[in-house]
């Protein structure tokens, strides 16, 4: 006979076990490949294609570059045209799965090089690339955040410092009291970003009037908003996940906090920002690519993907994936034998221009240009630097 009141402790233990099991779940997807002297050159990637982060647009950029190379007969290595095989595995936003998949790509599929995922996963993947001695080319990780390691991870992306500089250049052209409310997630990346943006702000003549660290998943920002109001900060720098920014933007409007300038780092890039409607208008974002800056291959990317990805940020992700793969295929071609060690060596001497701009690596990093965009009527347009930009509009959503 069952008891009338189930044991809460037992249930808690069961819930914890189930959640742990969820964290340990893996992906059994695999595929065969070969990187023999004459067979296809295998490039692998373990990326987040489901779960919390979905990088389909970056994957499309990878595939575009590989398809173009294969359509031209393949990559020329030591005078021989060789096809490229791209093996893409979905790690479902789970780092443990990613680690297993990277090992499988290298040891079973014989991938000679890896393409990155995004953000923290790229940092986690760096250790695997170094351990397996296989080059890893990544973007979607600001160059300052790539840790020093054993030299097999290469990052070609924008820098946080450049993005901050562009923002402060733009902010200096507007009429504000130069007081900043800074809100960051309380993880390592949030802390590093906050310190860097705060420091560069001071150099540019701005003052961090209030700084708040919030855990991911926060839904009540009343204390943050109160800090902004009490200090009179007219510039908001929010470095949070999209759902957190959504909640904060609504609460800011409801509680009548009216900054004159607001940038959403990480959060406002999502195309979902448009579902905020007019509330999202005027919010600034940091971009790694725009269709108005005269970058290489812009029109080709727009022609192929503008229908699938109507927003600038998604197209920028396609450009990023295309850019990474172009750099990697260039190194494969120059390596002479398409072995991991030779490709890694060739990457160090990269000197080319691709979809995100010119690339030369120093300490395994190459900084690509940064832009500032602004949301208006469900679209993002470049507002800084001035070349290719439209005039800055007011932060109408919050005012």
């Amino acid at each position: 006979m069952r008891t009338a009141r189930p044991s809460l402790r037992l249930a808690c233990a069961a819930v914890c076990a189930a959640l742990l099991a969820a964290g340990c779940a893996g992906n059994s997807t695999s595929s065969a490949g070969s990187s023999s002297d004459t067979g296809p050159i295998v490039i692998g990637t373990s990326m987040s294609l489901s779960g919390a982060v979905v990088l389909t647009s970056i994957k499309d950029g990878y595939q575009l570059a590989v398809d173009q190379a294969n359509a031209a007969g393949g990559v020329t290595v030591d005078g021989v045209k060789r096809k490229v095989k791209l093996v893409v595995l979905d790690n479902r936003s789970d780092t443990n799965t990613m680690v297993q998949q990277v090992r499988s790509l290298v040891l079973s599929d014989h991938a000679v090089a890896l393409l990155g995922s995004c953000c923290q996963q790229n940092i986690d993947m760096q250790g695997q690339a170094d351990a397996l001695k296989v080059p890893l080319l990544m973007g979607a990780l600001p160059v300052e955040l790539l840790p020093k390691a054993k030299g097999y991870a290469w990052d070609s992306f924008q820098s946080l410092a450049d993005g901050a500089d562009r923002f402060y250049e733009l902010a200096a052209t507007t009429s504000t009291n130069k007081k900043i409310l800074m809100v960051n997630t309380n993880d390592a990346q949030g802390k590093a970003t906050g310190e860097l943006w705060g420091g560069l702000g001071k150099k540019a003549g701005f003052t961090v009037a209030a700084s708040k660290a919030v855990p991911g998943g926060t839904t009540d920002f009343s204390d943050v908003i109160q800090a902004g109001k009490s200090t009179g900060a007219q510039i908001l720098i929010a470095n949070m996940t999209p759902p957190d920014c959504f909640a904060m933007w609504k609460q800011m409007k409801a509680l009548a906090y009216k900054p004159k300038l607001a940038i959403g780092l990480q959060c406002a890039q999502t195309p979902g920002w448009s579902s905020l409607g007019a509330l999202g208008d005027g919010t600034l974002v940091q971009l790694n690519w725009t269709d108005s800056a005269g970058l290489p291959d812009t029109q080709m990317i727009v022609d192929k993907f503008a229908k699938k990805y109507p927003t600038l940020n998604d197209l920028g992700s396609v450009a990023l994936g295309y850019h990474e793969t172009q750099l990697l295929l260039d190194a494969v071609s120059r390596s002479g034998d398409a072995t991991p060690a030779a490709i890694n060596k060739a990457l160090a001497t990269t000197d080319m221009s691709s979809a995100l701009g010119p690339v030369k690596f120093t300490d395994n990093k190459s900084t690509t240009p940064s832009f500032i965009g602004q949301w208006e009527n469900g679209r993002i347009q470049q507002v800084w630097p001035a070349k290719g930009a439209v005039p800055l509009k007011s932060l109408s959503g919050l005012n």
Binding site: A18, S50, V214, A254
Partner: protein, 287 residues
Amino acid sequence: MSLDVLAAGILAGGLYALIGLGISLVFGVLGLMNLAHGELVIGGAYLASLLVVDAGWDPLVALPLAMAAMALIAYPLQRYLLTPLLRGSKSAPLVATFGLSLLAQALFQAAFGTHPKALPAAYADTGLSVLGVRVQTVYVIAFGLTVLLCAATHLALTRTRAGSAVRAASADPDTAAVLGIDVNRVYAVTFAGAAALAAAGGVLTGVAQSFTPSSGLPLLLTGFAVMALAGIGSVGGVLAAGVALGVLQSVSVGLFGGGWRDVVVYLAFFLVLAVRPQGLFRKAHAG
């Protein structure tokens, strides 16, 4: 700590209580820890988005339809999948709800994409000032609706024939069956009711915040914390626990900063489990 922050905590607690109420109901009656409850919440938000975003309805008008739709989806799940499993091992239904959670996330992703969505409404980003305290209108609405739904649930459980059947099935399903109560149906109706409550929480979450296919887990944990604080079988306790959780968050932010919000909340959660496993708002059972 300002009164604005404290008021925001109290009102946010209303939404926490609404999410926790369904979990508490299912656990109290069926003895089932529903790991898919977060997806029932998010499912309600997505169903409402079809009417709100695509058809231009007000979220509060869409809310009863979303509740009804989630109840209709949940009823057969309990009747034909989870109830048969409940007769077997204790762990089978738990694992099944975990599977349902993953399945639902995949379905949301396939149907609606992965970008965050929000339910637009005039009251989503407006505020009210009461005695100098400024609060977000949608949280006032959420709190009022939670009180209403808690009262309705309490009355349904204590003042109706169906409620008597639910309480009988909860206390002793074998004896209840001998007395002619269709326990399987009672379980399914309870699960459907919990799903409807979850959907209401989802609609309000969508208006006040945003949602993605993977938003369910943090909501589940919040609801679970509410249930643990409240104890099983007390609708009023759930409301009080939700408010207590909201206030605790606000106080912890005021005292220690935002970075400690979750630490303090879950520390309190484990302390309650260790010291008063029956919950803060229930008396311990004798024997």
